[in-house]
Symmetry: C2
Subunit: 282 residues, 2 copies
């Protein structure tokens, strides 16, 4: 198996890919679109993308790509995002003068930096794993990176401080993508093996109660919605797309009927995937 992810070796997306597929070969991609492309053309078997972070919200680019590419969601994972401060072997925390990382990671560790390294300058770079690679390459033991534990291992750095993020409830939800022909028929949801169905739809027109009537197709059949995300349709002011995560599989006749009913009301619907509920890790 080959698994594509966005970012460098040592990125949190790589950690998600390795957790989901411990035996597979991971393939770094420069952009999210490259991940979708690699799965589409068959260069890899699966793609792993972040879709929502508990603190920073959803990843709109990936919602848009899910809509425009013809792939399917076949799995999910919630991964705890733990930040570590790392530097060259021999470096000490008190000797650090400069800390580099992605701006969100620097922000997430601000309280630690203020308390332990008030004199150090914080400098933003493109991503956490790239920061670790730069520290390893520059050979300056006064510079530290904030990145994942995996990045420290990959680039031969030592962890000076572990779990330095302020908010311990920082989880990212990742999705697994497969080409449509590789998706097995889903079993009906059982209480012991819950399934989710993800879909996106647009209303025919922006009339009062349009969303209410769309959600009625699920509520009238006692189907639970996990998540609803509205995204403005670029180029059509006031028009929105709605992304739903629903408890249940399309092998369940209630889900089938709800989707038929929604089809009567919506301008269009796309089922993005039917997949087993995934674990929370870390």
């Amino acid at each position: 198996m080959h698994i594509a992810f966005q970012g460098e070796i040592g990125a949190f997306s790589e950690e998600a890919a390795r957790t989901l597929f411990p035996e597979a070969t991971v393939c770094p991609c420069a952009t999210f679109e490259d991940v979708f492309e690699a799965v589409t053309v068959g260069r890899v078997d699966r793609g792993v993308i972040p879709i929502e972070n508990a603190i920073f919200g959803s990843v709109p680019a990936n919602y848009d790509l899910l809509r425009t590419y013809d792939l399917r969601i076949v799995g999910e994972l919630r991964l705890r995002i733990r930040h570590h401060m790392m530097a060259l072997p021999g470096a000490t925390l008190s000797g650090i003068r400069r800390v580099i990382s992605h701006p969100q990671a620097l922000g997430q560790c601000q309280a630690f930096l203020r308390t332990h390294l008030p004199e150090a300058t914080a400098a933003p770079v493109y991503d956490t794993a790239g920061a670790a690679r730069m520290v390893a390459g520059e050979g300056d033991s006064e510079t530290a990176a904030i990145a994942s534990e995996r990045a420290a291992v990959e680039y031969g750095l030592v962890v000076l401080a572990a779990g330095i993020e302020t908010d311990q409830q920082n989880y990212t939800r990742f999705l697994v993508l497969a080409p449509p022909q590789a998706v097995p028929a889903p079993p009906p949801s059982l209480p012991e093996a819950p399934y989710l169905t993800s879909l996106v739809f647009a209303h025919r027109e922006n009339v009062p109660g349009a969303l209410f009537r769309s959600l009625a197709v699920f509520a009238l059949r006692d189907l639970n919605l996990r998540k609803i995300e509205s995204r403005p349709l670029v180029g059509s002011p006031g028009q929105y797309l709605f992304y739903l995560d629903l408890d249940g599989s399309t092998a369940d006749v209630r889900v089938q009927r709800a989707l038929q009913h929604l089809d009567e009301l919506a301008a269009w619907i796309k089922v993005l995937g039917v997949y087993p509920e995934g674990p929370t890790v870390g």
Copy 2:
């Protein structure tokens, strides 16, 4: 009038603040929370914050701050985000070797950079206005910044290329914040002067159809929802907060009754503001 915004002079939030309050004094703040704080303690009269961008999605931090601070939304603005490449007077586009900006702005202008400056390195910094300030301060005519027109004026730079963003539909919605005692009583919505009401609520429990029943209070009264945003409640997996923008003012008896009805169903509700629909600029 004094208006707080997050960022440096030359940031897009400053442009929004100046468009909304042309006569006012603008006050830069380091963080979004500092903006909320400045309005709360009365150090400024109003705050201006970004809440949603057409490409990069909503600003989750500001949704959370709207919920936790006791301020009110009193206005809104949609501002077109136009990126310009700027450098020291005398610099030429063909002489640029290094381009600095916020990572999102660099991403937004990637097509332009690939075509016109394939040899230049792109380097991320914290924000667009800060990039312009750095170019002005460093005195290196081979470095350019990508930032707003306002930033070029502020830091005495010349615009080498205007409107270089790939997606011309890049708008950000900004909200105006005021302390609760400064909010005038809203008039009922009239077709010629539409009002919006923004609120946030949480369900008592995560039962099937809970969101459907909540939206029924608006649909049954023919009240149109502009926007729905769900945010995970940090620390309570599976629990969501719902943010709604509703056509109509709380001076309208239908809106009053819908909110009373929602109060029967929800664990809690907070009305974030009642304000006239704002313009789209740029």
